[in-house]
């Protein structure tokens, strides 16, 4: 668990009074939170508490679901991402996402990482090759796959596939990485590799992770938020939240008395 000797205050994302509805069901209630740049923010809470819904608000991944309604503001570097006319492709390039189950494309390892830059029309062949290598190095996968870049991505182990998906995100130069239960399909060693990577990546990226694993939140994050029935019950420094939570519901949840 990273200890913060001083309080970092450099918000990358500011959320103000966010309400989110699936039809008539209010999934998020009055969420206000500041996600600090170059930190890892963990979101915990029982299933159905709204943490994944919240995460998907941050790059408007929920937009594809019919009948949703969003109120409030989400500011990314001061710009409201829910305003009319925002470039969604650009938003999702800036705010990348890694999912619960590794989801490589049915393509080669190389093509998976090169996909984003190609779609964005970035660079010539050798530039793309450099970008693929750089991205695979960032996720510590390069040494393992450099001689088999044309191999099908599905031939990798699940842990490697997840790191490949992370490389695919990094290849488009995001600023924020959203992770939705990125380790739930992985064994403990592959999990620790991802957690190690997160510590490396946070030097340059802002990371928000949703996890069911409270120990993982405690291990990796700088700040933790507890969601409960669509509300953000408590949000604070991870070391403080896991040793001296302010709210009784947090105490009950993290000590297993609730949930």
């Amino acid at each position: 668990m990273p200890m913060m000797s001083e309080i970092n205050h450099n918000p990358k994302i500011i959320v103000r009074d966010l309400n989110f509805y699936y039809g008539l069901f209010k999934a998020l209630s009055d969420i206000s939170i500041e996600i600090q740049a170059c930190e890892i923010t963990a979101l915990i809470g029982p299933s159905g508490c709204g943490k994944s819904t919240f995460l998907r608000c941050l790059n408007r991944m929920n937009d594809t679901i019919p009948g949703i309604m969003v109120e409030g503001k989400i500011l990314l570097d001061g710009e409201d991402i829910y305003r009319d006319g925002i470039d969604l492709a650009l938003l999702r390039q800036r705010v990348g996402m890694v999912f619960q189950k590794p989801n490589p494309f049915p393509k080669s390892i190389f093509d998976n990482v090169a996909y984003g830059p190609r779609v964005l029309g970035r660079g010539k062949k050798h530039e793309i090759e450099e970008l693929v290598e750089e991205s695979l190095r960032k996720v510590s996968l390069w040494e393992e796959v450099k001689d088999s870049l044309n191999k099908d991505a599905f031939e990798l182990s699940l842990g490697e596939q997840q790191r490949l998906c992370l490389a695919r995100v990094l290849a488009v130069y995001p600023e924020i990485i959203l992770m939705d239960e990125p380790c739930s399909a992985l064994d403990p060693i592959a999990t620790l590799k991802i957690e190690d990577l997160m510590q490396e990546l946070k030097k340059n990226y802002t990371i928000v992770i949703v996890t069911h694993n409270m120990q993982q939140a405690a291990r990796v994050s700088d700040r933790t938020g507890l969601f409960w029935l669509g509300e953000l019950v408590e949000f604070g420094r991870t070391d403080q939240l896991f040793t001296r939570p302010r709210e009784e519901r947090t105490e009950d949840y993290i000590t297993g008395r609730l949930g």
Partner: protein, 230 residues
Amino acid sequence: MGSSLRATLDRGLNEIQENLVRMRELIDRALSQSLKSLSDRDIALAHQVIDEDENINDLRYKIEEECLALIATQQPTASDLRMIMAIMSVVVDLERMGDYAAGISKTVLRMGDEPLLKPLIDIPKMVELAREMLRDSLGALFDHDVPRAREIAARDDEMDHLYQAIFDELVEIMAHKPDSVHRATYLLWCAHNLERIGDRVTNIAERVIFVSTGDFKDLNIKEDGIGGIN
């Protein structure tokens, strides 16, 4: 469904608390028997108190191991984690209290067959106070009872006053009867050990506040800031 989620953790915490109570009972017994060995000049009983201190030491390590196992296997957080950390510190205080009780019996052995300098008046009061404070402090710890913890820490002032009174009286005697210095010092050592027990109980009271609030607070502040002779 709440309790079943943490049944193992609760069971572990209960076992640790039971062992703490056992430890407290052994110290309580050591205190009353060391006083008896002093007042009756019972050498055999003094030896017994010293030998039985081993049991107190063993319990300390047993409890520390149990705490370690709970941390490793149950990943306690928040008040559970604070309680376990507090217990890790409390067992050290308890173990030292056992040493202080045994220290009184060791003094009895050193006294040999020299008669007591004077009848015991305040030392039995200190023993009674120490036993009460100790009993209450563990109760306050288990109940997360902050007001009780503060009240226990306040009672340490009473302990300090008793010690100060004994100290003044013995110094007075030594000044007038230089040949009494040895025998006066024996009693002074006994009183000193009891005064130290009061300070150790105050440490436990501080841990009660830590468990309940997460704050570290020093309750052992003497009125004059120096603490007189303590």
